[in-house]
Amino acid sequence: MWKIESLAQYNQLIDRAEQQGFALTNCFFLPAAVQKKVEDGTLYGLEVGSGLLLLDDNGGFYRCYYYLSPQGKPDRLTLDKNAVIEFPFNGKMGERQRQQVSLIDRMGFRLGRESGMMSAAPTALIGHGQAQERCSGAQSRDAEGIMALLTGCFNPMYAFLPDRKALSDAIDQGRVLVVREGDRVAAALVSGFEKRIATVNQVAVDPDYRRRGYAGALMRTYHSLYVGRAASFRHWVDINNVPAVNMYLGLGYTFSLRRANEYIM
């Protein structure tokens, strides 16, 4: 395994992979994204026998991107950290997708989570426009409680959790909502807003405070924050998390065709 030190080196690697016929890939970085990873020093390359892996070091695990030959027999992997491969597809598993999943399986990954995208136009939201009494904007003093809640509720390999700085920035920008029980953060929602798309990055409820409607209250408050500005509301959900899916359907969301399976080792 070697560190990728420059965008030029990255481009050379990819060119070579493509010339070698490694045509199956889940790697579609725009150059700006690659540049950031190279500058952060998090991107590594690994040859896997008729294929190339790019590993993005996320601290506790690698996020893996592959270039594989359709006829290839990649090696079973042994890595020094856990790893996840995110495999997006549009609604259906065709021949090309099944080929890739077979190769992912051959490398030693197993299915961890199945995600689907849910979305709603502002006019489709149910109960929007009304901030909920129990919900308020997070303050900097809530940061530690929010981090504890998020890391307790989510597997970081799936959840793209914010680091402390990103969470602090989100709080300062008014993108984090909480429900407090005394001094304790009982529930939290971290949102995003870019180019007229509002997103829920995470919504989490402490197990001691579930079944009180806090998640739904946070969602309605989140809607009220962006309903005048967003063209669309979107988020990803574990499609097997039936209570969560039912809540979102009840708020006016529907599933799009987008799916993403996460394979882990």
């Binding site: 990819i14 493509e18 045509a23 889940n26 579609f28 725009l30 993403a260």
Partner: protein, 77 residues
């Protein structure tokens, strides 16, 4: 080719009026997931291979830009 491309794009994002938009990437109308889907479908439909260094916003901001990219790749093949 234009009709084929528009049909492909419409299947991926039926909510977008592709012929009217001039900054599909720059305005965030298409996100990274859309790019993955579009590139895979373009490769399969037109028998081309879009390389990593061609994943530039300028190549995907308009329908015309995408057509230009496909034509360039077909000439290269």
């Amino acid at each position: 080719m234009r009709e084929q491309l528009l049909a492909l794009l419409d299947e991926i994002r039926p909510d977008v009026e592709f012929e009217k938009e001039t900054k599909l990437i720059d305005d965030g109308i298409l996100d990274s997931f859309d790019i993955i889907s579009i590139v895979q479908e373009m490769n399969d439909t037109f028998g081309v291979r879009i390389k990593a260094n061609e994943l530039q916003p300028d190549n995907f901001n308009t329908v015309d830009a995408m057509i230009e990219l496909i034509e360039k790749l077909k000439r290269r093949a």
